[in-house]
Symmetry: C3
């Protein structure tokens, strides 16, 4: 084996950790205890570290990397995201943090982990860490635009977190795509071999998938502001997820190539699309039937995406290992378009009260916008998110090709061997 | 391989999902936020989807089906159970749902998952879905009888959920039993081979078992009505589970055929019997010592059941793959008989106050029954539950033999191959 | 195979369970509902039974024992610890228990599970159970000294739980060390072979490790007394863990023997050292930057310990299978020394208010000690804990060598075969 790693390759990350420490010493203080009992923190914490981590263990020989890098990235990113997010809300150059800040940092780290899913097995550790640090800064800027400037409805983050993370990831994936030469087909063989699951790895992936599913109502309802808004978010997410799950199983069989057999890829992922699809509207008065309808649509969209769109994207040089476009991307756009629709349909009376939980969510009940105007803002926020994330991902991915970040050779893909001491 | 599945086999389930959607649009509205902070929801949610799902992964080549069908069934059933349960409590033909409704739906879905455990590996996906839909309707009717008509104590559902699910399952199992012909013994060989665990599958089953154990106090205390009743339910369940666990380990060694070696089947299941056994009485003033005594009895009963009764039932054409009779059935009856005993022993003074949390649980403190009368009601509720569940299970199982539901051939049992794309 | 176990070997444990039952009947009553909503119970419960259990499944053929004995020990110990702890706070010879008592029992059981980690695979089931029962009695005595007599700051238990459990464990380990004879080297071969992980066992160990990490803020903040103190404990633990995790990954690569490859042992364990290191001071005004600094130090200390100290200890006849010295021992001492430092640095003004959450934690705001005096008490508490635990561990370990407890032969180490029916 060629000696290619030096033992100091991660030292820049330790330097970054020390810089974070200094920034925290200078700028961060404890806030009051107003948010000490913020809802949804523990569940979201499980989603980020167990949910995303184990969901990505489905590859047969990339489980250590999936779990390890998920943890490494998220532990770094939550510290960094807390600063980047709070940058827009400083008081006298001081950041006051509460338990709510931790929840927001956890939620922001989902963006990075979704992007990680797109390039799972295709990027080196150093590339991932570089991408994560850049992505958080861009995502927090976009989040500020969406939430504070456009003031749009997106309580569950389907626009600013899920769609952003997915299209940033696809941008990176395209930029990092391998430039194969026809002259050396032999080296790609191991890649093909490792790029799939084993029986055991599909079972451990279900740990992540089911925990994500269980706590998704906590995730979507974490940033609500009243008890009734909170309860609506929980009920709607619960029902949408249930309907998406039933639809996923049915559709997985319908599109099967082998006698209607079920596909674990669909079961592990499309079941969750109901949580994304309802995310931006889950605190609104969409009704229990509406939540189920949204979930059915999400299951349909996601399974069809995995079956027909992902292979097409791969051919177009946009590999998407976990299919984040089908779980986070398209369902995120779907949720964003629902906010446009519901805003446009709002009557004046409904408008100022409950249809958009976003008004209370922003402690700003007097925006004074018309329904059509709010619908345009919603549409604009979605569009800006897709453009910023895609362009940001492509640029970041191109920068990440720098040799100093040790890009993977084709035969090193999907393989724990290069990063881990194996038994 | 014979082509036997068409890709449209699950389409009727999608139709059922669409019908559910329409019913929700018509009948369901958001309730007030009185129950937005209902206790025990998150824990029970983990039990249903992680707990039951992973507990059933102990079979070496049925992990995909255990996890997948557990999820498919539960996602369908929670939507259906919410309607069936609320049917008995409609206001002006409208169902008002709160977070409490979700908890109740989760709890009701346990019934179906217990039944699934009895016939694990023995029924096709279509059979399971048919059984689940019928069972929920019958179980909700029985629940209404037990809770609203007989007005009995059963806060943790040991009678109406655990015993019901177990005996419904045994009824189904008997009705679905294979009619072997002596002429073809060879085909049963693979069944014997797959009907057990591997080292890995026993480890993943422990994920389910331990999470069930951890959140059982949440399950049993979820429907309590006061802080002190809630705390009693948590303390009693915690202690009963701990005592049952110690007893299970000791007894597993005592009844061992090989030098006192421990058996994973006991450890994964009988440890939990303490939660079932204390379920119906956990909100009463049974005392910490009483809770431990109940747990010790549950451990004894359950291990002896696995060791001696399950093999006997199998011979009697009632296979019970997960041994639900030992984990849910007999401990449920045990808990029901404890309610009879405690009701009979009640003095008038204790009676109206705390001995039966059931009175406060029903917001109906003035039932005006004597101790003997209440004891008879308790006994009657237990009896009716066993009769309704067994008979319901047998009839449902016989209907499920219809060829359209694609019953399994003997050599297809315990095998993911027929339902799943395998790596 | 030689017949060496009788089926009655665990019967003394059932007798102990019956004695516990009698003691509970006599001495234990339900307390008021003041603590019915104690924070941190559910998370700590997950840590004890899932966290510790799965973390110890990293050995390739000791997963059943890791999960099973973790459960058996903890289920026994929580009942016993609740009595031992409450012994020092009885009212009229009666123990009044609340949900807080259950949390304290869970926390105390961590001591035993840390000790289990030190001798994982090296002790028989009977030895473990004997050690656990003795250890709890000694640990509760030490806890009483530390908390009630010395009245020191240790909200997360880094001194009285983590350091105690680790040094008790190392004491036991030294006492149980194998006395090899040079004449029979062949029998040790299987031990070497089984004393490491497999790919799958390292993945299941991550379940435990990540759940411990997730709920550590709940653990450290469980016994706080005000909302602001609680929130500080959560924030500081969260940040310290994140910083320790980043540092662990970097250092694992730095100290690697093979091209900077990451080591799962570090990732599974040193990531958690940040939770221990900040434990005793997490409720104080250490600042967000301070919490990160402590976490960085913990990651450094722990990885270096695994890399250089554990091999040395093994040579010195103190095997430490899970490396508890690096995860609980040294980080516990580190946390203890931080309390000495922070006490010594306290000005009078800070002293009586917030620097030491310990004052409010003890409902005793008027200790009237000087900063230097409190620093000495802190140091003394740490010293006493180390002496009592080490000596207690050595004596308990020597007693545990009694043949009646069936000590393991060398070739039986790290092997489920002797305790479990294997598939």
């Amino acid at each position: 084996m060629v000696y290619k790693f030096t033992n100091t390759k991660y030292i820049p990350l330790l330097v970054f950790q020390l810089i974070l420490m200094v920034l925290y010493f200078i700028f961060v203080r404890y806030g009051g205890d107003k948010h000490h009992d913020v809802r949804g923190f523990e569940g979201t914490h499980v989603m980020i570290f167990i949910g995303f981590g184990f969901l990505m263990t489905f590859l047969k020989k990339y489980c250590y990397s999936a779990l390890g890098f998920n943890w490494f990235l998220a532990a770094l990113v939550i510290q960094w995201a807390l600063l980047c997010q709070s940058f827009y809300h400083m008081t006298d150059n001081i950041i006051y943090i509460t338990k709510l800040s931790l929840l927001e940092a956890d939620i922001m780290s989902a963006t990075v982990l979704i992007t990680f899913g797109a390039v799972l097995g295709l990027a080196s550790g150093l590339q991932l860490l570089f991408i994560a640090i850049v992505e958080v800064a861009v995502a927090c800027l976009n989040f500020w635009l969406v939430a504070d400037i456009f003031k749009v409805a997106d309580v569950g983050g389907s626009i600013a977190i899920h769609a952003f993370g997915a299209y940033f990831g696809l941008g990176v994936s395209w930029a990092l795509r391998s430039r194969k030469t026809k002259s050396d087909p032999a080296t790609t063989t191991p890649t093909v071999d490792l790029g799939g699951p084993s029986y055991n790895s599909d079972v451990t992936a279900m740990i992540g998938s089911i925990f994500l599913w269980i706590y998704w109502p906590s995730f979507n309802s974490g940033l609500t502001n009243s008890n009734s808004e909170y309860q609506r978010a929980v009920i709607n997410t619960y029902l949408s997820l249930a309907a998406a799950t039933v639809t996923t199983f049915v559709m997985s069989s319908v599109v099967s190539k082998h006698h209607g057999k079920l596909d674990m890829v669909h079961v592990q992922n499309s079941t969750l699309a109901g949580g994304v699809a309802v995310g931006s509207v889950c605190n609104m008065h969409i009704g229990a039937g509406g939540a189920i309808a949204i979930g059915i649509g999400a299951g349909l969209l996601s399974v069809l995406g995995y079956r027909y769109l992902t292979p097409l994207l791969t051919k177009l040089n946009v590999p998407d290992t976990c299919g984040v476009n089908n779980l986070h991307g398209m369902p995120g756009i779907y949720s964003g378009l629902l906010t446009v629709l519901f805003a446009a349909l709002a009557t004046k009376e409904e408008y100022g009260t409950d249809l958009f939980g976003v008004f209370s969510a922003m402690d700003d009940k007097g925006l004074g916008r018309t329904a059509a105007s709010q619908a345009l803002y919603q549409f604009f926020a979605l569009l800006v998110t897709i453009v910023v994330s895609s362009a940001g991902g492509i640029i970041t991915g191109l920068l990440a090709r720098a040799p100093v970040l040790e890009p993977l050779k084709d035969h090193e893909r999907y393989d724990d061997e290069i990063n881990w001491e194996l038994p």
